[in-house]
Subunit: 314 residues, 2 copies
């Protein structure tokens, strides 16, 4: 069955089916995805990340509602295994995920990160294409801010949001340090807590010191406090995302962002092709190469080059 026309009409069932094909990196879906790709480029893609416990899943859900209530169609792609969207619900009792899932303007899809065999980013970015072509105005990608893959995915967005929660432990903060610099917008979540102000001031201080410079000129990363519990700060956040979008367009920065996205995309697919071919040939020609390595007949670097040559020989 040709799913493309249904996807382009924004129909839920074909969208869900094509998303499943994309997630499985099913070769049979390539032609459909190539046709879908021609219809992309209209949605605004927002990447949301943060360390575990930063409140990013709840933030994503409430932000989606905020946009949906203003009449926009919102797609959510959650690639965070700890996300309530992925079923491993933790905050699910507090914020009614079910309510959001029932909103006709919101489409939620969680992607498995395990067993993705390096195809995580490929599947995720194909999923963005599908929702974009299906007419979603805003696409939120939620990833956990640890792991190279996850961070690269979230950077393949037009607007990058990094969530920080007040009062996280030192060890978590140490990891967090690596992702703060990718933010266009910083969110301090859980602003119903009394220690949230300190986190806001810390972030603002780091920005002032130039510690959190980003590759973009002309847009100083914003710091916004939100409370998902009290639904506070989301109007400001939605407005800031829209402002960032306008900024990208008027400054011409969008051209650089698009380039970064297409670069990430191409690289990630190439890597997943290498990996896929590797696993297909694990017991065949690659097994023989491994044997040579184990007998010290070939160095790992030379073996890897042979692997690449064989992949290309197809």
């Amino acid at each position: 069955m040709d799913l493309v026309p249904g996807v382009l009409r924004g129909e839920t069932v074909p969208i869900a089916r094509l998303l499943s094909c994309a997630e499985a990196a099913d070769d049979a879906s390539r032609p459909a995805l190539a046709r879908i790709f021609e219809h992309t480029g209209k949605a605004h893609v927002v990447g949301i990340t943060g360390v575990p416990g930063s409140g990013k899943s709840t933030l994503t859900a409430v932000l989606a509602e905020e946009f949906a209530n203003s009449g926009r169609k919102v797609g959510i792609i959650a690639v965070d295994p700890s996300s309530p969207f992925s079923g491993g619900s933790i905050l699910g009792d507090r914020i009614r995920m079910a309510d959001i899932a029932m909103n006709p303007n919101v489409f939620i899809r969680s992607m498995a990160t395990r067993g993705a065999m390096g195809g995580l980013s490929r599947g995720c970015l194909d999923a963005v294409d599908i929702l974009d072509a299906a007419g979603f105005d805003i696409i939120l990608i939620e990833t956990v801010g640890v792991g190279q893959d996850e961070i690269e995915i979230v950077q393949a967005a037009h607007t990058v949001i990094v969530a920080s929660a007040p009062g996280l432990g030192d060890e978590i903060q140490a990891i967090k340090a690596g992702i703060l610099e990718i933010a266009d917008i910083h969110i301090v979540t859980k602003c119903d807590r009394s220690d949230s102000n300190r986190t806001i001031l810390e972030l603002k201080g780091m920005l002032k010191m130039g510690d959190l410079t980003k590759f973009v000129e002309g847009w100083e990363p914003k710091v916004i406090g939100t409370s998902s519990l009290r639904r506070e700060g989301f109007e400001e956040l939605a407005a800031t995302i829209d402002r960032h979008r306008s900024y990208l367009e008027t400054s011409g920065e969008i051209v650089k962002r698009r380039r970064k996205i297409s670069e990430t995309r191409m690289l990630k697919i190439a890597e997943s092709l290498v990996r896929k071919r590797f696993y297909e040939e694990r017991l065949g020609s690659i097994s023989e190469l491994c044997g040579q390595m184990e007998r010290k007949k070939i160095a790992p670097d030379a073996a890897a080059r042979q692997l690449l040559a064989r992949i290309n020989g197809e």
Copy 2:
């Protein structure tokens, strides 16, 4: 200067220099690494992982001391940005890292995870080769247990240890779930704490239920409690690692492990070659491919295949 003879004699300065070349994935070091590779295969490689806050760095340090005190030469490769070995010391005040660094039988190397451009695992596994060829008996690789790359690295070891701390938050535990199943040995750290027994029982319960099955038959993962503060449990841990090593040898399981290691190695190098070439050609031929993607003249999948063809065309 030819660093290889010095490395093979176990001299610190050539070892450190070649490690730096390996970390930089410097092409000029390839011949030296290929020669080094011929002298590998004697060391027992132990991968140690755990989520942030699991106490794995301290565990690694104390375990290294335990082995060193029994007269063995121990190499530590830390690829955890939050590790005290990497300078971002957190527990450094409690356990005197400096003491361990001064031990003549211990060699510590931390690897940067940022800016590694996908070369993290390549550099790390080359580092294992260097220490192996230099005559280290035991090589401990410490990685943070989040991120595909990090988890793959630690699995490229003969014995895999997963550290769990009592009383970590739910969100952290959710992430942890993904790495428990790779353990040959489970460590519950911080056993000076009263709630550690519960964590030990939970793990044992999960093992009994068959939830934590591993691909190895004939070795049921062990659960050991340690206290780095009181230096308790490390004799048992060192003995269990030695027992696991014997088990691998006598059962013939070592052949499968070696295969897994050489497979991971080849794949990881191939991926890093793709990535390296990508960044070299980012402004050249790849820029043109990106442009075609942006004008919807070529789909991402087809563009990635062209990228691979060009890499191989060298």
